[in-house]
């Protein structure tokens, strides 16, 4: 198999003119953006804005209609398996097999990611995520917060250089969600990994992210650091900016209809 050219100095993600159509529906409409290595970037937008579709294309689970995606310098169309071992993904909407214990799940995924010293790696991740006492518990018997941490352990099993997260703290209580956010801060600081997260929690984004991509109806409506966006829109926080951008879209649609 031909290996795609690798650009080690480039951005973690470089997307150019990316389009995804599902029959007549344009889910992602000619978007371009890049994500700097070592940064934490948020992909924001209302339901149906195209966030999850974009994440799925970045992961290689969804084939773009057109456009280019380079992840860690590798062209995803040419050889996505050259870079997939360096990525990982966590979402509360994608589960781990419930009948297997956390340790068994992590062992399976460690094999899939081609790792060695698997037992040692699992012990370290379990310790970091405070899962050591739960390693022999079936995932199906865990609480929501514990499942999120187990999913995160799976997402970190290969120590990814790029971690994609879809609503990582959805349906968690504030204490557990805060713990998870602190963990991301520690992880990025210690490993230099790049994080791209889709979230509806604006406080989380303000706390974690260097950069924000605001999506609306398949396009990137605006972008910048949380502070830049707040100043640009003259608002008190990112949540108000989010509402401005989302409602601007609604207002435009209403005017067009009239």
């Amino acid at each position: 198999m031909r290996s795609a050219p690798v650009d080690p100095g480039g951005p973690a993600i470089a997307v150019a003119n990316l389009v995804k159509r599902f029959d007549a529906v344009v889910a992602v409409d000619d978007i371009s953006f890049s994500v700097a290595r070592g940064s934490v970037t948020a992909l924001l937008g209302g339901n149906g804005a195209g966030k999850t579709t974009t994440l799925a294309m970045l992961l290689g689970a969804l084939k773009p209609t057109s456009g280019e995606i380079a992840v860690l310098g590798v062209d995803m169309r040419a050889d996505r398996y050259a870079v997939i071992p360096k990525l990982n993904f966590s979402s509360p909407y994608v589960a781990l097999p419930g009948r297997l214990t956390i340790a068994q799940n992590l062992t399976v995924f460690a094999h899939l990611y081609g790792l060695d010293r698997i037992k040692e790696r699992i012990e370290r991740i379990a310790e970091a995520l405070e899962l050591t006492d739960l390693l022999k518990t079936p995932v199906g018997k865990l609480s929501a917060g514990q499942k999120t941490r187990a999913g995160l352990a799976k997402a970190l099993i290969n120590e990814p250089e790029l971690l994609l997260l879809d609503e990582p703290t959805a349906s968690l209580d504030p204490d557990t969600a805060d713990w998870i956010r602190s963990y991301f801060e520690t992880y990025t600081r210690d490993t230099g990994a790049t994080l791209l997260l889709a979230s509806h929690h604006m406080g989380e984004v303000e706390r974690l992210c260097d950069h924000v991509l605001m999506m609306r109806r398949g396009v990137i409506a605006d972008r910048g650091s949380p502070r830049e966006l707040i100043m640009k829109y003259g608002r008190a926080n990112l949540e108000e900016v989010f509402l401005d951008i989302a409602r601007e879209g609604s207002a435009r649609r209403q005017m067009a209809a009239q």
Binding site: L59, F89, L112
Partner: protein
């Protein structure tokens, strides 16, 4: 909070064998965790053996055809179970991933679709052995039939039916990828479509003439005819074995191609991350 930096630099091997082993391991964990699953695997083949075994015992004294080869019905039911369990073992293994909403996790990992196919085949083989072996062993004390007397012919029959089960299972699994759990019923019932025409319990000559071309287009037909040749005529029909192998090559390539095609469609339509209950 504990530091997450590992003690040693991470090493990522690009090994198909390790990924396939990972998938096999996942299913061994699953089987080990559930005695009812193991019991269920062996339950139906043993149940079938009992019914057909007692029927054979009755027919031995009432049918000259059966009396010529005492184990023909029991061998037939065991070989049919090889085909059925091989097909079911492959498709149900895939269904397990859909039920647990794990397909998305697998298809964003370095596991390639062809490695998934290889893993499904290995797991199907293990599930088939677990299913059929207890019934085959029970046939001796219960009915005095030792199917292993078929010797090398049994191995040839077993592997041909195993491969045909894989081929049908891969096609059905492809449909699951494309249509989701709505196609689950095909997993359980699809293989029975061929049961009337493949000559499990009776020779193909018993079928109407117009069905013969359909029967002879199935690798399993060559196996069951070959089994009867061994048991009634005491000869091993190499021509039938070659026919089964040739057709199985075509079937397996077609089954794998169908799976890969439907995988491509699922990736195009965004179905890989949406599968599940």
């Amino acid at each position: 909070m504990t530091s997450v930096r590992p003690r040693a630099p991470i090493v990522r091997h690009d090994s198909s064998w390790q990924r396939i082993w990972g998938m096999v391991l996942r299913n061994l964990y699953l089987l080990r965790s559930s005695w009812p699953r193991l019991f269920e695997l062996a339950y139906w083949p043993t149940f079938s053996l009992l019914i057909w075994g007692f029927l054979s015992s009755f027919l031995m004294t009432n049918s000259s055809w059966i009396a010529q080869a005492a184990g023909v019905l029991i061998s037939a039911v065991l070989l049919w179970d090889v085909l059925f369990r091989s097909n079911l073992g492959l498709a149900v293994t895939f269904l397990e991933e859909m039920w647990s909403r794990n397909l998305g996790q697998l298809f964003i990992s370095p596991l390639r679709p062809v490695e998934m196919i290889a893993a499904l085949m290995v797991i199907s083989f293990l599930r088939t052995v677990i299913s059929v072996l207890p019934a085959a062993l029970l046939a001796m004390p219960l009915f005095g039939i030792w199917v292993f007397d078929l010797g090398a012919a049994l191995a040839a029959f077993f592997f041909n039916l195993l491969v045909m089960g894989w081929a049908v299972g891969l096609f059905v699994t492809g449909l699951l990828l494309r249509m989701g759990l709505g196609a689950e019923g095909i997993v359980w019932t699809g293989i029975f479509l061929i049961a009337p025409v493949t000559g499990i319990y009776y020779p193909i000559s018993a079928l109407p003439e117009w069905l013969h071309p359909i029967s002879w287009s199935l690798p399993s037909t060559y196996v069951f005819e070959g089994m009867r040749a061994v048991m009634f005529e005491k000869i091993f029909r190499w021509d039938l074995l070659m026919g089964a192998i040739a057709l199985n090559v075509v079937y397996l390539v077609a089954g794998a191609a169908a799976f890969l095609y439907f995988y491509g469609v699922a990736r195009e339509r965004g179905l890989l991350l949406q599968q599940g209950e």
